[in-house]
């Protein structure tokens, strides 16, 4: 080797070393990377699980990378679309509404877990929504089982107790809300006109969805959907709702006492409990049922997500083992995250644990978790399909028309038309 080529090699090595400074170090064996949003909820539970697992397997570390939810979805979609697996994590959190979208759009991107993990111990509706071609792909995480959170103290002032709110319909709720407004001057619920969550809650509560099992839109002729539209229209017309823009305004509204109640998923507990001075002033009731619709129930779901393993994961085996050992079997772990983060897991055996039967002072001594668990078992199972975002957008686009008293059939037809156009 001449001195010239030796020198060349050396400078090349230096250059490469310099370039490598610019890129991130590749994940080393034994390091599991997890993508999730909300460090105080999802991130915290994953970190707790990591602690437990690392104690038993000291050569494995789990790193949680935090993103804003929308950002994570964008990034995941961008990467999967480009067909590149570089930089993808081992485990990723995906919201249940999007599960089928990812599974079907990007076949082979996710690792089936039904072989390694016993999924029969999880709530069936959670397992089903992430099943494709008979294989389960998710480690079900939190349930978004819904409840109606309300200010029990103020409603009591207006003469309503917890029993008055059990097993009611939406029209009854509107009556109650109107009465409360007359007596106390306060508005019952905040509604974000840019958010279609309430429609989803209503539809699933009666076992229906935007799409049927084959993915065809069931909107224009869907009596449940129309009932949901009508209910929304009545709610707005009754004057017991207040418009809010964005998540923060929405949560700020009921936590500050500006409004009195909200129908949402159990994961809202953490936000509500973040105001310790309101302890004892809150109650939780089952959600209202749709009026005049067959199969209407008082149970539904909003949100909820699950953990998925990427097929390209550098540490796939460890990731699966990690999920299986802690998330798949450890009932004590679920007690902890329930108490600390308000995370209602979907592992059914965990429901028999201590924390789940405990009553919560914050909510007037009610056995909050037990209630949610019961409702969890009652949630009608629906197939979310792959076009939830598009359908939501179509509904939201019609909200101004709905609010100003438009004709329900016409509005449903307009939503249907937009959805059909968007899903080609």
């Amino acid at each position: 080797m001449t001195s010239f080529s030796a020198g060349l090699k050396r400078s090349l090595a230096i250059a490469l070393a310099g370039v490598s400074m610019f890129s991130v170090t590749a994940a080393s064996a034994g390091e599991i990377t997890v993508w999730a949003w909300d460090p105080n909820f999802n991130g915290a539970t994953m970190n707790k699980a990591a602690e437990i697992y690392s104690a038993a397997n000291p050569d494995v570390t789990v790193t949680v990378v935090d993103f804003a939810k929308a950002d994570l979805e964008t990034k995941l979609q961008a990467q999967l679309a480009s067909g590149t697996t570089d930089g993808l994590p081992d485990i990723v959190l995906i919201e249940d509404y999007g599960a089928q979208k990812y599974l079907q759009s990007f076949p082979g991107a996710f690792e089936p877990l039904s072989g390694a993990v016993d999924l029969s111990g999880f709530a069936p509706y959670k397992v089903e929504l992430a099943t494709l071609n008979g294989q389960g792909y998710s480690l079900p995480f939190d349930s978004g089982v819904t409840g109606m959170f309300y200010r029990s103290d103020i409603l009591a002032d207006a003469g309503y107790t917890a029993a008055d709110l059990e097993g009611i319909t939406w029209s009854r709720l509107i009556e109650i809300g109107t009465d409360v407004k007359e007596k106390t001057g306060q508005i019952l619920m905040p509604i974000d006109p840019n958010d279609a969550g309430i429609f989803r809650i209503m539809m699933q509560s009666a076992g229906s969805w935007y799409f049927d099992a084959d993915g065809n839109p069931t909107i224009a002729d869907n009596p449940v959907f129309k009932a949901a539209l009508k209910t929304y229209q009545d709610l707005i017309a009754s004057g017991i709702t207040k418009p809010v823009a964005g998540w923060t305004e929405y949560t700020g509204s009921f936590t500050s006492g500006d409004t009195l109640a909200t129908v949402t998923g159990v994961w809202m507990v953490g936000t509500i409990k973040a105001n310790p001075d309101q302890s004892g002033q809150w109650g939780i009731a089952p959600i209202p049922a749709l009026d005049g619709v067959e199969g209407a129930t008082n149970a539904s779901n909003l949100g909820g997500s699950s953990w998925y393993v990427m097929s390209s994961a550098p540490n796939k085996a460890e990731a699966i083992d990690f999920l299986k050992t802690v998330w798949g079997e450890d009932a004590d772990f679920y007690q902890e995250i329930l108490v600390n983060q308000g995370a209602l897991g979907s592992l059914m055996v965990a429901r028999e644990g201590e924390a789940y039967s405990a009553s919560d002072e914050f909510f007037g001594g009610a056995p909050v978790w037990q209630n949610f668990s019961t409702w969890l078992g009652q949630i009608p199972s629906v197939n979310y399909g792959i076009f939830t975002n598009e359908a939501d957008a179509a509904v939201v686009a019609q909200i101004p028309a709905l609010t100003s008293g438009g004709n329900i059939d016409e509005i449903a037809a307009a939503v249907d038309a937009q959805v059909r156009q968007q899903i080609q």
Binding site: A78, T248, T271
Partner: protein, 272 residues
């Protein structure tokens, strides 16, 4: 200047300017007031300063790895700006000083390309970066922005004011073209470079969408991404967000104040 109409005119002018200045500066005050309040207060719309500044700053620094994040932002913005200035000024000078019909056509089509929205380029660029194994690197962020058509255009306009005599004299002195560019052109066009620095640095610093898709891990993120992430958290702590917003704005503010005078000169030169 003492007739009443002129006086009214004067007063009206002052009023207009004061109002404009107030409106322009008010959000900055709001940001600073927000940084001193707790999140709950900010949500309620509190308009007075509070006492939570220290707490917010502590929370900010514990949740954000500032040294690394700042390094990322400064490296990307700084290095990117330097590269952009160099490449674009070279091109602007080249287009203006060495005319040719063919190159004029090329320049014309460049102007057309200004109209392409980034949203359309995102996916192909991403696939390209992925194939080159450059995801999650500084290069992936910097490279697509180095050749900025707008800055090329800007330098070309500014170069119209650069006297050809200087170049001819330098040639007579035996300087090569690149030496003329480096030793004659660049010093003379200092103000233009200053103005361009502000514009380009700002654009790179504030770059949001592209880094969002490309930068994967926590230690590669820029400050802009981090602050945006703080905002869309489940229960955002707005006091912390405001602190982050202040830090995100400070560097561009400082650079602006440092280069201010040259900036106005630069704009003057380009507009001639």
């Amino acid at each position: 200047m003492s007739n009443p109409i002129a006086l009214i005119g004067r007063t009206a002018t002052y009023l207009l300017l004061v109002l404009a200045a107030f409106i322009s500066v008010f959000p900055f005050f709001w940001m600073m007031i927000g940084a001193t309040n707790t999140s709950a207060d900010i949500i309620k719309g509190r308009a007075l300063p509070g006492g939570a500044l220290w707490a917010n700053m502590v929370n900010f620094f514990t949740s954000v790895d500032m040294p690394r994040i700042l390094f990322n932002s400064f490296f990307i913005a700084g290095f990117g700006t330097a590269m952009t200035l160099l490449v674009s000024s070279l091109a602007g000078y080249g287009f203006e000083m060495f005319r040719s019909r063919f190159r004029e056509k090329i320049f014309g089509s460049l102007l057309l390309m200004l109209s392409i929205p980034f949203a359309a380029l995102m996916v192909p660029l991403f696939i390209m970066m992925a194939n080159l194994k450059m995801i999650n690197t500084y290069q992936a962020i910097i490279l697509p922005t180095v050749a900025s058509i707008f800055i090329v255009f800007y330098f070309r306009q500014a170069t119209k004011a650069f006297p050809h005599e200087l170049r001819d004299a330098a040639r007579i002195d035996g300087l090569k073209e690149w030496q003329i560019f480096l030793y004659v052109y660049m010093p003379v066009m200092r103000s233009t470079y200053a103005a361009a620095t502000i514009i380009v640095f700002m654009a790179n610093w504030n770059n949001y969408l592209w880094p969002l898709i490309v930068l994967q891990t926590n230690e590669m993120k820029t400050l802009t991404l981090v602050v945006a992430g703080l905002t869309s958290a489940y229960t955002p702590d707005f006091g912390v967000v405001m602190v982050g917003a202040i830090f995100a704005t400070l560097p561009t503010l400082i650079i602006f104040f440092l280069l201010q005078r040259r900036f106005v000169e630069g704009m003057l030169g380009a507009v001639k």
